[in-house]
């Protein structure tokens, strides 16, 4: 069965700050949805709401028709939705393999057998190219490898919908090309669905099947990548009204 994540009219307020104001979107297993918008537009907040890290002020998040917005983060992972951290949060004192092993042991598969779990962890490490660093303490990984580890961990949870928060940010052009190649390969091989928050336009436009643009907590555009970036509202949100007028 193809799993479907449905976000319906979600609002999230922090006191007087209205970070997200009525955003709806759908992510299907096997499909990649890009979520873009200027800084502070509410993208990361929306991901946190979906992941169960933050509770929505209003609206609902459903997985296969089942409400998950009232569940704690660990329950959401058990159901098959996992999120990377914008700033990688590896368990610094553990090896790379143990970091991934934890995700297998506690993710949606809940495999209690250590031997099998670490076989699985090794498979994921090979998949993302972290195998040479399996025994390295996460504290000694480079920034690029820590981002890979974030990706490895969410894959290791066995989740069918991944929430990726700026996994392509801060990479050199070569690293970016490599990371995008890796993502495409993984996505084909595993077939997960993904909601990808990203500032790097090249990555979003290339990888996404569909793109959603939000600005000041509201959805201002949605559609196929190349079409969305030509819309005046989007150009205005990024570059200002003058640029939007000039472009059209």
């Amino acid at each position: 069965m193809t799993r479907v994540l449905e976000v319906t009219n979600v609002h999230k307020y922090f006191g007087g700050v209205r970070a997200v104001q009525g955003v709806s979107l759908t992510v299907q297993e096997g499909r990649v949805v890009g979520l873009i918008g200027p800084n502070g537009s509410g993208k990361s907040t929306l991901l946190n709401v979906v992941a169960g890290v933050a509770k929505p002020t209003a609206g609902s998040v459903m997985l296969d028709g089942r409400r998950i917005d009232n569940m704690p983060a660990h329950r959401v992972v058990e159901l098959g939705i996992a999120k990377t951290h914008q700033i990688p949060k590896p368990f610094l004192g553990m090896t790379t393999r143990d970091n991934v092993g934890v995700a297998v042991l506690y993710g949606s598969r809940k495999d209690r057998d250590l031997g099998r779990a670490f076989d699985e962890a090794n498979w994921v490490l090979r998949l993302v190219g972290l195998e040479p660093h399996a025994e390295t303490l996460a504290a000694n990984l480079t920034v690029q490898d820590r981002k890979r580890l974030e990706l490895a961990r969410v894959i290791a949870t066995g989740s069918r919908i991944l929430l990726l928060d700026e996994v392509f940010a801060g990479l050199s052009p070569d690293e970016l090309r490599e990371a995008m190649g890796l993502f495409t390969r993984l996505q084909k091989e595993i077939g997960f669905g993904a909601l990808v928050v990203e500032h790097v336009m090249r990555a979003v436009l290339t990888l996404s099947d569909r793109v959603i643009v939000i600005d000041e907590g509201r959805k201002i555009a949605e559609g196929p990548p190349q079409q969305v970036v030509r819309q005046p509202a989007v150009i205005e949100a990024y570059l200002g009204r003058e640029a939007a007028r000039a472009a059209t």
Partner: protein, 318 residues
């Protein structure tokens, strides 16, 4: 839960096992004053491993662990005095009380993190003393004392606390080497990241805290048996909490061997200090200074530091 295979036991496990077996074998043959010293050592080791379960494995520092010890002791004295329990059954009752108390306290206090949890545990320990002082059934502020029919039974005490400690160390090993151990290390490292990987942090913390209360309650029971009762100001002495903390900080928090090493390093010198009247008061000062120095300069304690700087020890010590 699957039990670890015997052939996977490292030198540390064999070492601790050998130490315990030698103690058990020699107990009937050693003079009583030495046996009392050993009983004290085992009681404190049980307390140190108990604190290690929560503070060592999750990083949640408990300043109020004495509360489980004290009420374990009161439970024993109450059980013997009121229901005429056998002392060993009294110890078991102390363990149950300790576990139930930890479960109840943990549900509330484990919601706090870092220093807030530490302060909450301290407040609970202080409050518990004043509650106990008002409870008629618990001696109405005067304490509970064992009837004289319960004589001094050093060997029975020794084997009781020996079994408790052996079970506790065994459980620590099983927990740290299994799935739960990975979960706990993740929580200790980054609780938020742990929960985004599917770890139910609240449940795991409560599990080890309850276990911790169980063993501290049992140790408190044997302690009260040993001193023939529980009197409020002595039983709730916050110095006990600090001594447990000192033991695991000095020995090496979260390790299998550390609490034992720390107990020996703190308990034996403190017994020597106590025999010299002038130095008695200095004990706390010395322990305090040692703990501060270790926390500042060698946070891994004895075991952690050996692991860090002597690579040969890494595979041996755990």
């Amino acid at each position: 839960m699957r039990l670890p295979a015997i052939r996977s036991f490292g030198p540390t496990v064999w070492g601790i096992g050998l130490f315990l077996i030698l103690l058990a074998g020699s107990a009937p043959r050693i003079p009583v004053f030495l046996l009392t010293l050993v009983i004290g050592l085992l009681i404190w080791a049980t307390l140190a491993y108990s604190l290690n379960l929560i503070t060592g494995l999750t990083g949640y520092v408990s300043f109020g662990h004495v509360v489980f010890m004290a009420l374990g002791g009161y439970a024993l004295a109450f059980g013997i005095g009121t229901w005429n329990l056998h002392p060993v059954a009294g110890v078991a009752f102390g363990a149950v009380v300790g576990a139930a108390l930890a479960l109840g306290i943990g549900v509330v206090t484990l919601r706090f993190r870092g220093v807030y949890f530490a302060i909450a545990t301290l407040v609970v320990a202080i409050a518990a003393l004043y509650i106990v002082l008002e409870v008629k059934e618990l001696g109405d502020g005067q304490g509970l004392y064992l009837p004289s029919s319960v004589g001094f039974q050093p060997l029975a005490m020794f084997y009781t606390i020996w079994v408790i400690l052996a079970i506790e160390i065994g459980l620590t090993y099983i927990i740290t080497h299994g799935r739960i151990g990975y979960g706990l290390r993740s929580i200790k490292s980054d609780e938020d990241a742990a929960s985004t990987l599917g770890i139910n942090a609240a449940q795991l913390k409560l599990f080890v805290y309850t276990l911790s209360g169980l063993f501290a309650g049992a140790a408190g029971g044997v302690y009260a048996w040993n001193v023939s009762g529980a009197s409020p100001y002595q039983a709730f002495d916050l110095g006990f909490s600090l001594q447990m903390l000192a033991m695991i900080v000095i020995g090496g928090m979260g390790t299998l061997l550390g609490p034992l090493i720390g107990t020996v390093a703190v308990y034996l010198p403190s017994q020597i200090f106590l025999t010299i009247p002038v130095l008695g008061g200095l004990q706390a000062i010395v322990i305090g200074i040692v703990v501060v120095v270790i926390a500042l300069f060698v946070p891994g304690g004895i075991v952690g530091t050996l692991q860090k700087y002597i690579p040969e020890f890494r595979g041996i010590l755990e």
